[in-house]
Symmetry: C2
């Protein structure tokens, strides 16, 4: 596999071999390794020394179900630490089909110019993109499909990314050409904007055959892997019937669904925005139900949906739990249509719905707007997307908004907003949010469905740590985190598929050692970037403010956060 | 000596003995010791766990010239680290005369209320201050003098502090009742605001006699100390004739005077705002010349001035170099009257002129306002002081302003703006700004007048370190840093005066070991607060952008910043 290195100052593109020692590193882990090797951790996130890395994983080349995630990575303008955010869509598999494991986008143009990186039959080149300046995501991708053909894979930024906002995302197109899959978190869209890169367009012109070294071993493992996914409840029924929104009745009942600016954990209108209601609504409007849509080719889980408006016209694909909570319950909104429109606006401007939901929540909590007022919420997103003075503030996310408007209730860790699994009510999430080198990402591991006492602060350390390690390994292999719910055999089967493809003989400890290596590499990058143990913590207001209905506070002993990093675990 | 502990939540005031081991710790050093002992370094600066400490030093009780500085200290909302900012005025001596070494203001009121801490004959009490809400500094102090008598010492905050802005200062009154002496840097006014404390008013009702243990030893040292100050050029002529503004021709000539948003170091209109021009202007208008005014009772240096308008009416007392540069040359302003008015406005709202000058410089540099437009500059300060949306941004200082408006040219270290001694042209200042636990303070040590090659990046480490240590010790003894320019005998004489007063027998190494202890304590606090070696650096743009006229860049080897902290120096 190869790496394409694109220097935005020189306008040069160079192909390199992926170093053999990184053969099994893709996505998050490859980003960590490249960042550790090449990027000064104390650099300015939007300066020339930061690098934007786009990467897929070692299984993508074989087009295995759930293995084609595409990651964006860089030093984050939001957290000041290393950041990886992955997404579905077709870019992961597409790059793999061309033999590309990663793009490294470095330096920045001398002037204020804008480019498209185009990869096609004639090679890779930077094309002037000034005609697309400040174009929104939906209009932009439409234009790009017209120009470069409907089969392109596109990763791109909207106005928020061009305006270098810390809440800016990177959009990726799916199989239907919808720019609906987002590397949303950490402001990676702003890093892309800082490189003067509006879009990456990759044509469908080559299919590299995967060099499968041990066909029998591979096929045996693959077969069982497929069977496991097809037979596990969550990956064949749970996610498949209700999507991520399926969690809503449960999470609201256990009091962990952020509502009204993180003021309460049960949302009295949860039934109006639940997975069931979502499914009904879609069916009523002639859609295909809830979770019938695959975000990546060949996915067996198909947890996504296409949400139509009242006339049956697509609004977003798909409407997910994090958005339903952060842009829904957290803002006191009860209409799926309102939330879908907010989602559409965020997508169109290229914004992270989690960060924006948390930010508007802070703004409403200060009394600067009313909870439940959907029109105000939409107006605020438009202000962000068009860069008004207020929009510039909100576009920097919840922490900066709280700083400017003087709230002591910023629901953030390492400058990034907490996702829609409230840590006061979910002690495992406290540990994950506090310790993840990524800031408060639910994608670092979700403990919400785990059958342990969610309110016991003493029992979660080991579980949360092992889970993070496993997820980091899956993130490094380009796998969707949802297949970790397909049963305990999955990790071994993944290793077996790798062994089959690459002719190796990794044992069952491969996943854990890979995950540990990745997280430790990230942690060391962060330490040099200035993020230390002092940043592994919950927001101060959560230590004291009881969170209804359980009236729980953040009460994980500080030593647990410290013990998380005991070297004997990470470097055994 | 005593400590008064004021709990703003309970409304309680408790008197405690200063622990004997802290007998020689005042001001900066006492703040460091109390913070290290009592404040969780990872607390929210504007939350209830931070403490605001007001302190004087161990010489103040004897009313020695230049020894009555008053310090404010806390965890800074601007830097996220420990902060001390000292000032002249009468509060330092006043508290000493009552036997008070420090006030510790802790916790915060449950509701949004405002208090005055009043210390008078009947003891100390918290008085409702709602009638003074959002009152500006000049009107406020006038009211307070009317109410509590003209001889009070007052420390107070303006609207900026009440609005919790990171550029908010604490004002202190001088001998004439002018609220013109500022603990300006680091946003300590916001910490005071967060405590619900509008003002501290201390009546003149008691004079504790200094318990001088060895009268002869003390008097001998004092006499020589006075002689040294009276005979040294800088403290008897330099500062006394032209004040701090006396440096302008030199610093502009050597190319280290920030001009036009840190774009150049020689200001073509330096002569229009120089110390000489200042002196002439004041005399023309019937004032007393430039440096004829003492900021503290009994000061022999008298480096301050009273700047009148064209009708001879006082505008500010005094107009200082840092303001003349940061709110003058850095904004392209050439009229002393304009700069004085900007200064007046900053004082009146309770804002740091250095941070505000740097901030407006960033704003102008982005093309959002014109350099040289004094009316716009004043309008921007009014926006800050009245808390408009734009004002809320600018009031957070240069780093946040750069983040919101997307400048990569924030002249900041640890979130705080660099003062008016440009580090690219002054390599010693690079080291001081980068390493000081306080962020980029010139008050941590000024190397501008030192006769070494200012542009040689390799020769400054030891000098800058030793200087910081000496200044930290002087800051801990409540001494004005200017007397370090009164010749090499001063440190020993200071130790001798202490020995005379306290009956001790410290040797000449006392100053160095005191300074080292203080800085190391601060550094350790900062490390636990999350400020590490990664934060000891110059802004990235200064590494590459040549600074005319020398076209120097920041080129101190990284190892120098690291070597600065070699433990063998600090803990010999």
């Amino acid at each position: 596999m190869n790496i394409l290195r694109i220097n935005m100052k020189e306008g040069s593109i160079r192909q390199e071999m992926l170093p053999p020692k990184l053969m099994f590193y893709g996505n998050r882990g490859l980003i960590a390794k490249i960042m550790a090797e090449e990027v000064a951790p104390d650099c300015e996130p939007l300066g020339r020394y930061n690098k934007l890395i786009i990467a897929n994983g070692p299984l993508a080349i074989a087009s295995i179900s759930c293995s084609g995630r595409v990651s964006a990575g860089a030093k984050s303008p939001l957290t000041g630490g290393i950041k990886e955010a992955n997404s579905g869509g077709i870019m992961g598999y597409r790059l793999a089909s061309l033999g590309i494991r990663a793009l490294i986008i470095e330096d920045k143009p001398k002037q204020d110019v804008l480019f498209i990186l185009h990869i096609g039959k004639k090679g890779a080149q930077l094309i002037d993109a000034s005609e697309y300046k400040m174009m929104r995501i939906h209009a932009l991708t439409k234009k790009l499909f017209q120009r470069f053909g409907p089969n392109c894979a596109i990763s791109c930024i909207g106005p928020a990314g061009e305006m270098l906002m810390s809440a800016a995302s990177v959009a990726n197109t799916d199989m239907d050409g919808n720019p609906s899959r987002f590397s949303a978190r950490g402001g990676l869209g702003a890093v892309m904007g800082s490189k003067g890169l509006k879009a990456i367009v990759v044509e469908d012109y080559k299919k590299i055959k995967p060099p499968i070294r041990n066909e029998e071993r591979y096929k045996k493992a693959l077969k069982q892997y497929v069977e496991e996914i097809r037979s596990a409840y969550q990956t064949s029924v749970g996610y498949t019937l209700y999507g991520t929104a399926g969690i809503i009745p449960t999470i609201s009942e256990i009091g962990a669904m952020p509502s009204y600016g993180f003021r309460q954990g049960s949302f009295e209108n949860a039934d109006k925005i639940s997975g069931e209601r979502l499914r009904e609504t879609i069916l009523e409007r002639g859609g295909e139900g809830n979770a019938t849509h695959a975000c990546m080719p060949g996915c067996l889980v198909r947890c996504s949906n296409i949400f139509p408006d009242q006339d049956g016209k697509q609004v977003v694909a798909s409407l997910e739990y994090e958005t339903l909570s952060m842009c829904g319950s957290n803002l006191g909104l009860t209409s799926l249509d309102d939330i879908a429109e907010l989602n559409y606006l965020c997508n169109d401007y290229g914004l992270d719905t989690i960060e924006i939901g948390a930010t508007i929540g802070v703004y409403m909590d200060l009394g600067l707007a009313e909870f439940g007022d959907a029109e105000i919420a939409k107006k605020l997103v438009r202000e962000i997307g068009t860069g008004t003075l207020l929009g510039k503030i909100l576009g920097e996310g919840a922490a900066i908004t709280a700083r400017i408007f003087k709230s002591q209730r910023a629901p953030v860790v390492k400058g990034q907003s907490i996702a829609a699994h409230e840590p006061r009510a979910l002690k495992g999430m406290s540990i994950i949010y506090a310790t993840s080198p990524m800031g408060a990402d639910h994608t670092a591991g979700v403990t919400t469905r785990v059958r342990l006492d969610q309110l016991d602060p003493y029992i979660w350390l080991e579980y949360a740590r092992d889970l993070q390690v496993k997820i980091a390994a899956f993130d490094t292999l380009g796998l969707c985190m949802f297949i970790t719910t397909a049963g305990p055999k999955i990790p071994d089967l993944v290793v077996e598929m790798l062994n089959g493809i690459y002719g190796t003989d990794h044992g069952p400890d491969f996943i854990a050692s890979l995950g540990k290596d990745v997280i430790w590499t990230e942690k060391e990058f962060n330490a040099k970037a200035g993020l230390s143990a002092a940043h592994d913590k919950m927001p101060e207001f959560m230590l004291e403010e009881p969170f209804p209905p359980h009236n729980a506070v953040s009460d994980i002993p500080k030593q647990h956060y410290q013990k998380f990093w005991e070297p004997s675990y990470w470097r055994p």
